[in-house]
């Protein structure tokens, strides 16, 4: 047994008490869905997990009505302190059920248990805990002395961090006094449905949170178009974000969008090399690269390019790809066949456009959706893989000579979500951070998240921020303050 071989250490799924089928959670009750139901599968095995009801436009209407009634009769009349107490309860229940939620998320999404256990679920609890404390302090949110909730929030979340994205949406909305209708992604509804159960355990009043799995073009569209919705919050693709912005034009609806990215991770010659290599790995191979703020473009100063690439590929050789439930696994499954096909096609385009392809030499399981970590060198700024979001474990490496060139190349994208800077020179770090047109900049680190830290993009990566006071204001209006 070499030092890289480990005995299997799978997390048990016995902690899960899943039902064979799940309905929609509307007004505190489980109800049938009007659209064709869907079997959610585990992307690492393609085995079915449960049958999930899908909401029709009529169901969406029912959910919005429930949310409106809960807003009018209960939630908007409750003191901030009491709203906060419900959120604190939810935070605690998430901590108590953390292992169950981590297993469910890994099963449904395909990401490693190490990540759901150590990143996703702890952050979910932290998000609710943070916003719980805001609920009775809204007059300090910077919107004047009398901030008002918006009403009913329609929230549509992606499949890459299912429960974490739910927390980013639901926690600030409830703290600010809104009620919500949330549509989880088609391929990852499971933890949102378990969250409905947590709401029931917390005794949250009926209709304050409604969870309606469904198809984007049916339930998502109906939610965006619904005249009873005051606010839309969406995380997902830029294409869908555009369509939502177009749809709500001319209405009073407020909108926040967290969309795609093509983050530049810039490594200067004076960077701490080993730490930078860890940061590059964390930037693009964390969560199989299914991260909107991934550092998918590596910009390396020319004179350290060969050294960095050599150390990077050597480090990637130590990553273990396989069963996401195994506690030793670093790289899990791609979330869906559809996404795997897209990654495969884009990687092939990278090769055909002349970039040099390196692929991790590792075995992949027979069933499920898998993509080997891939690094492209010799990438030109005009190449498809340097411009389009791949949303997979594929890194494009480009070079630069001067800081000015690095900044120009980093900003040469319609996106503007994240960027990384690796240098030991603090003055240069601060100046480069000033010049980068991106909403989140990680210097000598990457892919860090915290409920107190605003997150969101410039340009076509969307608008609005999630996290901290900024994220709270996305769910408030200022009354009449100037």
């Amino acid at each position: 047994m070499s030092f890289l071989e480990y005995a299997p250490a799978p997390e048990s799924t016995s902690i899960l008490k899943l039902q064979k089928s799940y309905g929609l959670f509307i007004n505190g009750e489980w109800v049938d869905g009007g659209d064709k139901s869907y079997t959610t599968i585990s992307p690492s095995t393609e085995k079915p997990i449960a049958e999930i009801a899908h909401a029709s436009a009529k169901d969406v209407d029912r959910a919005v009505s429930a949310a409106r009634a809960a807003y009018d009769t209960v939630w908007s009349r409750m003191s901030g302190a009491d709203r906060g107490k419900y959120l604190f309860r939810i935070a605690r229940l998430i901590q108590e059920r953390a292992r169950e939620l981590a297993v469910a998320e890994t099963l449904d999404n395909g990401k490693p248990i190490r990540e759901t256990r150590d990143v996703d679920i702890p952050l979910v609890a932290a998000w609710f805990f943070h916003y719980a404390g805001w609920a009775d302090k809204l007059e300090w949110a910077g919107l004047g002395p009398n901030p008002k909730a918006l009403g009913v929030a329609g929230q549509i979340i992606p499949w890459n961090f299912p429960l974490l994205m739910l927390a980013w949406k639901v926690a600030p909305a409830l703290a600010a006094g809104n009620t919500v209708v949330l549509k989880p992604a088609e391929t990852t509804p499971l933890t949102a449905l378990l969250f409905a159960d947590i709401c029931q355990q917390a005794g949250l009043p009926d209709g304050v949170v409604n969870i309606i799995p469904g198809r984007g073009e049916v339930a998502g569209q109906a939610l965006v178009e619904h005249p009873g919705v005051n606010k839309i919050a969406f995380t997902g693709s830029t294409a869908v974000g555009r369509s939502i912005a177009r749809t709500i034009a001319g209405t009073e609806k407020k909108l926040t969008l967290e969309l795609g990215g093509k983050g530049a991770n810039i490594v200067f010659e004076d960077a701490a090399v080993d730490e930078a290599v860890e940061g590059i790995v964390r930037g693009i191979f964390f969560n199989q690269g299914h991260v909107c703020c991934a550092g998918s473009r590596l910009l390396v100063q020319e004179n350290v390019h060969d050294e960095i690439v050599e150390k990077l590929t050597r480090r990637l050789g130590t990553l273990r790809l396989g069963d996401p439930l195994d506690k030793n696994t670093d790289i899990g499954a791609i979330n869906s066949k559809e996404q795997l096909d897209r990654i495969t096609a884009l990687a092939n385009t990278g090769e055909s456009e002349g970039a040099e392809r390196w692929t991790l030499d590792c075995e992949i399981p027979t069933n499920g959706f898998w993509f080997r970590p891939t690094v492209f060198t010799n990438v030109a700024t005009s190449n498809t893989i340097a411009r389009e979001e791949i949303f997979g474990p594929v890194l494009s490496v480009l070079t630069f000579r001067t800081a000015e060139e690095a900044i120009t190349k980093a900003n040469n994208t319609p996106y503007g979500l994240s960027a990384g800077i690796w240098t030991q020179n603090a003055s240069r770090m601060l100046r480069v951070a000033d010049e980068l047109r991106a909403g989140v900049i990680w210097a000598n680190t990457f892919n860090q998240f915290d409920p107190t830290s605003p997150f969101g993009g410039y340009k076509e990566s969307g608008y609005g921020r999630e996290g901290g006071r900024h994220g709270l204001t996305a769910y408030l209006s200022n009354g009449d303050a100037r």
Partner: protein
Amino acid sequence: MSRLPVAKTYKLFIGGAFPRSESGRVYDVTSPSGEFIANASKASRKDARDAVVAARAAVAKWSSATAYNRGQVMYRIAEMLEGRSAQFVDEIQKSTGASAKDATTEVNAAIDLLVWYAGWTDKYAQVVGGANPVAGPFFNLSVPEPSGVAFVIAPQGNATLIGLVAAIAPALVTGNTVVALSDESSPCAAMSFAEVIATSDVPGGVVNILTGSPAEIAPWMASHQDVNTVDLGGADAELALACERDAAETLKRVIRPGQFSSTTGSVDRIGAFVETKTVWHTKSLA
């Protein structure tokens, strides 16, 4: 013997210069009673695109100017406007039929509004940004930055001067550059305001002012790839709807009609032209 007055030719204001419309078009500006006042330039799509080019080129300088400097320049605009207030009172009266008292009130309010916004340049970041207490060994700071180039439509048919000032000033506070379209029916005060801007140490291209038809110009700006924010405050409902739809293609930040008062200042309106940047940095003794 009465002196024959010298009439002013009203042109556009692009990149710090006063060109005529490249289209050669003008339109009649008349008083409410129909009396001819002046010919105004009727800006074309090309003029608007030129203005965006000028505005984009000016972003680097204006956004990297110190907040203190931006504040002084904006205060300088107020000073210059104050010194020429009689001219603005006269122009507002002629083109809108307002009383001398009402026109004076409007000009004074516009001056005071500029002073108010000028004072925000070096305070806004402190009020809305700051350190975030993240759970880890990181220095984490959020700061507001300008979105870039803004296209703003001044209110149409009312608040001819103050509406324009209220649309331009909040964008300037954080370092955006502006392409503004004036009140179509009374553009004279707007173009005289351009002269105030031109003599206030505002770098060329930071503010560009066009006169002409919102229905003709605004859709080009809403779909323009190099415009970051559109303020549709002066658009009617039909035009605003079309522009908001066009703006969705490039995910522009959009200010809807009625979102802000057209005559008073608003901290939130500064925020409508701002991106929040959050920077994380590791901390260690190593």
